[in-house]
Symmetry: C2
């Protein structure tokens, strides 16, 4: 099995994981989450977003979170930015990278941000330009890269088109996000290949939701294409707010367990990561969404007879 020589995890739990929490999460908990993640060895963290608090009240404390961090050398801190106003606020807090976004589904783009895909990306052009002028890296998240809740299957060509547009405005690397977790390995490979026509392997990451339990199979399929950057969320934080009980982001613990099992070093201490997942889950009053995290901490073996 052909696999890349190295891998890198971006933990998105402080932003993508917590943004849909209904109850307010205290700022010090968010800061401690980032501290625990970096102490466990996570080298890239998506910390917060600068979306209007009218739309995402949970992220209203973005400035307090970013300025509350004790940053570690070698760790990259990313923030989501929706527009120039958000960028201005973000830049004051010195992120290493900003994240802009676009959907591969026209219907999703219309419903989510009320404009076409092309318009949404064009609007990011000055954001990207100013971020890069300020020496801040830019990543582009391509949502609905495999399926859309409104349109169903999304053609790989649509995904490639978003990548092309991101490239044209200066976005340096992109995430291929299966936002609703409907993807399976071959479809995910087709979406990644469409993006790899515009970005090289070092600048494409996989972001797979585990809604249908497929995220690790999709991760394996992506690895086999040479993709080596992956996004995930400790404890699987960030379940879909509209599907009760459904899981969202794949748990970082599960991804790290897979990668270590394949002999790929993530630099992450899986035990410390599992403890972080258990800690934040307890703070949020819910069971962890990570199977590996739960099993590691239970540390009890199943000895059922006959397989």
């Amino acid at each position: 099995m052909k696999l890349p020589a190295r891998v890198r995890i971006v933990d998105v739990s402080p932003r993508d994981g917590l943004q849909n929490e209904r109850q307010p999460v205290p700022t010090d908990v968010k800061v401690e989450l980032v501290h625990r993640l970096q102490a466990a060895g996570v080298q890239e963290i998506e910390v917060t977003s600068y979306v209007s608090p009218k739309w995402v009240p949970q992220m209203a404390d973005n400035h307090a979170v970013m300025t509350g961090l004790q940053r570690r050398p070698g760790v990259r801190y990313a923030v989501l930015v929706p527009n120039l106003k958000g960028l201005e606020a973000a830049l004051a807090d010195r992120p290493d990278e900003i994240v802009v976004f676009g959907a591969a589904s026209e219907a999703f783009s219309r419903k989510n941000i009320n404009c076409s895909i092309a318009e949404s990306i064009e609007r990011f052009a000055p954001v990207v330009e100013q971020a890069r002028a300020a020496g801040v890296a830019v990543r582009g998240a391509i949502s609905c890269a495999v399926g859309c809740p409104y349109e169903g299957e999304v053609a790989p060509g649509r995904v490639g088109e978003v990548a092309r547009r991101f490239k044209a405005i200066g976005v340096q690397r992109v995430d291929v996000a299966d936002t609703i977790g409907v993807g399976t390995p071959l479809r995910v490979q087709r979406a990644l290949e469409a993006v790899l026509a515009h970005y090289d392997l070092d600048h494409v990451s996989g972001h797979f939701h585990d809604t249908y339990g497929q995220a690790l199979a999709n991760t394996l399929a992506a690895l086999q294409l040479g993709v080596w950057n992956f996004q995930s969320s400790v404890a699987g934080l960030g379940g879909c707010p509209y599907a009760k009980g459904a899981t969202g982001n794949v748990a970082t613990e599960d991804v790290v367990y897979l990668l270590h099992g394949l002999g790929l070093d993530t630099g992450i201490d899986l035990e410390a990561l599992a403890e972080t997942g258990a800690w934040i889950s307890e703070r949020l009053g819910r069971p962890t969404g990570s199977r590996a995290g739960r099993a590691l901490l239970a540390r009890r073996a199943c000895v059922a007879e006959g397989g």
Copy 2:
């Protein structure tokens, strides 16, 4: 990606799934579970076991379950058999196949059945002989084929050795079971390859537990070797009785979702299967262990912003 041309699912929920239930499951529920599975299109079902009720009280109604079935043409019904006494009882109930078992871990074999691997398989020799003389097929389950709760990692050579012994006593096909769900794709492939030195692809099946969330990645890795038979349990029934909250068997719904997504027809109606998973989970008073089942029935899409 190289994949087999066809696939086959054995649903083991009535036996492997229910055997560890603490509360007694009524016989009519077990029978209805089999009926629902076959109505959903499952073509092989592991129905019950003929282990002493002293050890597995939940399976004490094996005769009532087997004789209560309305069998469908084309569906195969398997039962677990631990010894000649069990075989005698089983044969009276006319299964299509019996399942014998052996561990690839010496420590597990000693603790589980109090004899060595070699002894345990040798004891099955007359069972296999008499079953085949009666025209009943024989399958061998190789447990702890990747890891053992007592010994840790299990060397592929040990797995191959169990396969060799099964072959020698006339076992016709074997399951490679990751009993404690610790396996990852490359280790699973090594275990399968060791078995494929003794059995051809048509006679090796994968039985992967999802304890660490790896089962579908392991399924994909097995498919890439050409393995096309898989065992799973609707709703993920059969969690490990010794690890609270830990998952055990991979959910059939999740495996079928993967296979259909890869364009491989299982003959199974996934909607009907998900409904079966929800039904039995409700009867057992627990949430389903299937992510695909839960998501399919929720039928609500996640439209979180920014991936």
